[in-house]
Amino acid sequence: MSETITIRVLRYDPDKDAEPRFDDFIVPYRDEWVVLDVLAYIKEALDPSLAYRGSCHMAVCGSCGMMVNRQPKLACHCFIRDYRGQLVTVEPLDHFPIERDLIVDQDGFIEKLSSLYPYLVTEHDKPLSEGTNLQTPAQLAAFRPFTQCINCLLCYAACPQVALNEGFTGPAALAIAHRYNRDSRDSGEELRSEITDSHHGVWDCTFVGACSEVCPKNVDPAAAIQQTKISASFRWLKARLLPGGTS
């Protein structure tokens, strides 16, 4: 018999189950398979009711974030050869409500992200006749690493503060806010500061650093948050010490 590997998958059907349970599947072992391939095999050959998200299969779309042996991973970026001979446990991302099987409810994240004006905020509409916005390489370098976020939410699953404080804005949303704040074309930092500088903004972060360790795109949300803490502190001081301070 050819080699197999056992995959333990968390299952939850809101129509039938009071709480989640685990199902074990024995699947063929293929050196080149990632966890996403295994899930596709299970759905096609063993249990068509299995629900999971996945799309690009190349760590770009951010759809297939899940816990693999208790670590937040992109299922498309996670070779089963690294787990050869082990039981592989696949669960939905930690710290999110489970919608069904491996699918989580992302509404909370989307609301938090939306509240941070995650786009270029400009003071005036610029007519087309004025041409494109130019940036120097240094201006681009200031925010470019933070543009790589694919909203896969691995950082939320890794962060204990997300679990302990429901209101915490969280790593990816704050990193994206930082990305726009650092963009020379943007004027929205003051608008975003209402959220970023608040208790549930950067100050709920205790600098665990796990978000940056698990990020598959090397975005470094921990750095973004600590840098925002510095900016927030200056804003706080400026508002209190300088004449004309507003808050």
Binding site: Y12, P14, D15, D17, E19, P20, R70, D94, P97, I98, E99, D105, P137, A138, A141, A142, A158, P160, A163, L164, T206, F207, V208, G209, A210, S212, E213, D220, A222, A223, Q226, Q227, I230
Partner: protein, 129 residues
């Protein structure tokens, strides 16, 4: 089809289940020992203000086996505290550009260790002299 998202409760021993989280809690708990050593130093100041005998008994307590053990434990935790914080320092500061290039994180961390060694050496020389 019903929409009934299930919220899994946080495991009561969440920080013991993952090495990364355990190290984080260990790093945070070092502050207790740093605080304890600060309290020992503050007590030294109080004892100093109470006269020669009080100061001498404070020094005797520090050099007793229990005193030495407590100080060694505090030193170990303070060193762990320093090392872990040096490790995350590059994230906690805005990127410093030299000729348009950010200083590499490892250079910043090494700089902190070198400064730590110089300051420790200076303290030893001053106290030893």
């Amino acid at each position: 089809m019903t929409r009934r998202p299930y919220v899994r409760p946080l495991h009561p021993h969440w920080w013991l289940r993952d090495r990364r989280q355990f190290l984080y809690i260990l790093r945070e708990s070092t502050s207790v020992f740093v605080g304890l050593y600060s309290a020992i130093l503050m007590n030294g100041l109080i004892r100093l203000s109470q006269g020669r005998e009080a100061w001498q008994s404070y020094l005797d307590a520090l050099s007793s086996p229990l005193g030495v053990t407590v100080q060694l434990i505090c030193l170990a935790f303070a060193a762990f505290h320093a090392v872990t914080w040096f490790g995350v320092t590059p994230k906690a500061m805005p990127p410093i550009l030299i000729k348009g290039e950010p200083i590499p994180a490892c250079t910043i961390i090494r700089g902190h260790f070198i400064l730590w060694a110089i300051l420790s050496l200076a303290v030893l020389i001053v106290l030893g002299g």
